[in-house]
């Protein structure tokens, strides 16, 4: 949010956008016996730092048990203009957390008259997860760019830990690609190398994890802004299908 040049607000458009965000068909499509299953973003999420910014990636499947509720979910949620969070765990919990933190950061940036630091955003997320650790099932990664420290990735897993890492993985699909990342990640990669690595990793996770699937959503955040890239299912890199 740019405090000095706020966007114009149109109430009707805002309402329409809000309604279109979530599909109303879900209520009709889910069979009765499936409805009691918690909707989770059984997921693969990755974030990686490079010199000058961060690269984020996630799959697009939201599942309720074995039913795919949404096959083109957006798990990359903006907290501010230059800070995004990746959501894994319960879809409801993570959506609630990101909405609350979005509000907190908006308020803080108006008070301080400058965009908030990534560390602050990560702390807000972590505080919420820790406070409600017995109720929430939310594993989130906060990544973004700020003027002070550049690109940063912070991991906020289930219990309420906060740790900064150059690469962070999360979600059920991440278990299948730890080895791949250990083998292929090296420090000081370029933006292009990071993008390729993240995309490949997500593809591999999608291939092996039942709760991950669909397409891959990528984002690059740097000083200039955010670049979103959606790689559809047929465009994913080819992996040998055993």
């Amino acid at each position: 949010m740019d405090v000095c040049n706020p966007p114009t607000y149109d109430a009707e458009e805002e309402l329409l956008r809000h309604q279109k965000q979530y599909s109303q068909m879900d209520k009709l499509l889910i069979p009765a016996e499936m409805r009691h299953q918690p909707v989770s973003t059984g997921t693969t999420i990755i974030a990686m730092e490079y010199d000058g910014g961060v690269v984020l990636g996630a799959d697009t499947r939201t599942s309720a048990g074995s039913f795919v509720v949404n096959r083109f979910t957006d798990k990359l949620t903006p907290l501010t203009d230059r800070i995004y969070c990746l959501r894994s765990g319960s879809a409801a919990d993570t959506q609630a957390i990101s909405q609350v933190v979005q509000y907190q950061l908006e308020f803080l940036s108006a008070e301080m008259n400058e965009p908030p630091l990534v560390k602050i955003a990560a702390n807000c997320v972590r505080r919420m997860i820790y406070q409600y650790r017995d109720d929430f099932v939310a594993g989130m990664i906060v990544a973004g760019w700020d003027k002070k420290l550049g690109g940063q990735v912070y991991s906020c897993p289930l219990g309420g830990l906060l740790v900064r890492q150059p690469v962070s993985l999360g979600g059920s699909g991440s278990t299948y690609i730890w080895g791949f990342l250990d083998n292929n990640y090296k420090p000081n990669m370029t933006k292009k190398e990071c993008l390729e690595l993240v995309l490949k990793a997500i593809t591999l996770a999608i291939t092996r994890d039942g709760s991950s699937g669909g397409c891959a959503r990528l984002a690059v955040i740097d000083a200039q802004g955010v670049e979103r890239i959606d790689v559809l299912g047929n465009e994913l890199p080819k992996v040998y299908d055993l």
């Binding site: 008070e111 560390k119 702390n123």
Partner: protein, 275 residues
């Protein structure tokens, strides 16, 4: 000084016919009557110097400090009623603590100055409390450079790039969006003389080690030997050489600064004798 208000000065919730709140102006008078406090924002840090006037021979050296730490990286120097200042200090420390708890990073000094402004301003609105009779300076060295702010009894927190504190300003709560704060500020008994001396210095090019000596020198120069015989000099700094931590200057730096100050006093008096 007496009977300016004549009837409109009984509480902070009253305006005078010409639009002044006299209680706040009287609070500023309390500040003016205290020992001089000087802050100098140099190229790579901020230096504080306080003229702590000693009223008793039984006074123990080093007690009753006028320069405090808010968090590790922010220093606060106070002028005016010291008991009022103690409460502002407590509030500042609470704010810093809460910010660190909520957001995980140390509080930026500009934000702290705004919060203290709001707090002090709240006490200028009601008839059942009195305004704070103290002015506080906040200094820190953050990633975008050294910063120095002053918060007055009226709640004004001046962030302008000039050297003058407008004590009779009628803007009770002014936010300005210029980030830099003060280059140098002085308040207290000898504030006019001190400000004149500060204006002679080129602070943007001065290093902190030189700044601290200059601050000590100004305190010695403006100190009134006749009215207040005994005084103790308090010096503190925060800057690149302290790695952003605010602390009292080490003993050797303190002694050097005192020596420099006393020597330049003698030079000045020698010049006078010659005339």
């Amino acid at each position: 000084m007496s009977s300016i208000g004549s009837g409109y000065d009984l509480s902070a919730s009253q305006f005078s016919p010409d639009g002044r709140v006299f209680q706040v102006e009287y609070a500023n008078k309390a500040v003016e009557a205290s020992g001089t406090v000087i802050g100098l924002r140099c190229k790579d840090g901020v230096a504080f110097a306080v003229e702590k006037i000693i009223t008793s021979r039984l006074y123990e050296k080093g007690s009753s400090k006028r320069i405090h730490n808010v968090d590790k990286h922010i220093g606060m120097a106070v002028a005016g009623l010291l008991a009022d200042a103690k409460q502002i200090l407590t509030v500042a420390r609470d704010e810093a603590k809460q910010y660190k708890y909520d957001y995980g990073v140390s509080i930026p000094v500009k934000y702290l100055a705004d919060r203290l402004s709001m707090y002090m301003h709240a006490y200028t609105l009601y008839g059942f409390v009195r305004p704070f009779g103290c002015q506080v300076f906040l200094a820190s060295y953050e990633h975008d450079g050294p910063q120095l702010y002053a918060v007055e009894p009226s709640g004004v927190n001046n962030v302008l790039k000039n050297l003058f504190i407008n004590l009779s300003s009628n803007s009770f709560f002014s936010f300005t969006l210029i980030k830099s704060g003060y280059f140098g500020c002085a308040v207290g008994k000898a504030q006019q003389t001190a400000k004149t001396e500060i204006e002679k210095l080129k602070l943007t090019d001065m290093k902190l080690e030189d700044g601290i000596k200059e601050a000590a020198k100004i305190i010695y120069q403006v100190h009134d030997e006749v009215k207040d015989r005994m005084f103790e000099l308090e010096l503190s700094w925060v800057g690149k050489n302290t790695e952003g931590k605010h602390e009292r200057v080490p003993t050797n730096v303190y002694e050097d600064a005192e020596k420099y100050a006393k020597a330049s006093l003698e030079e000045a008096s020698d010049d006078e004798d010659e005339m």
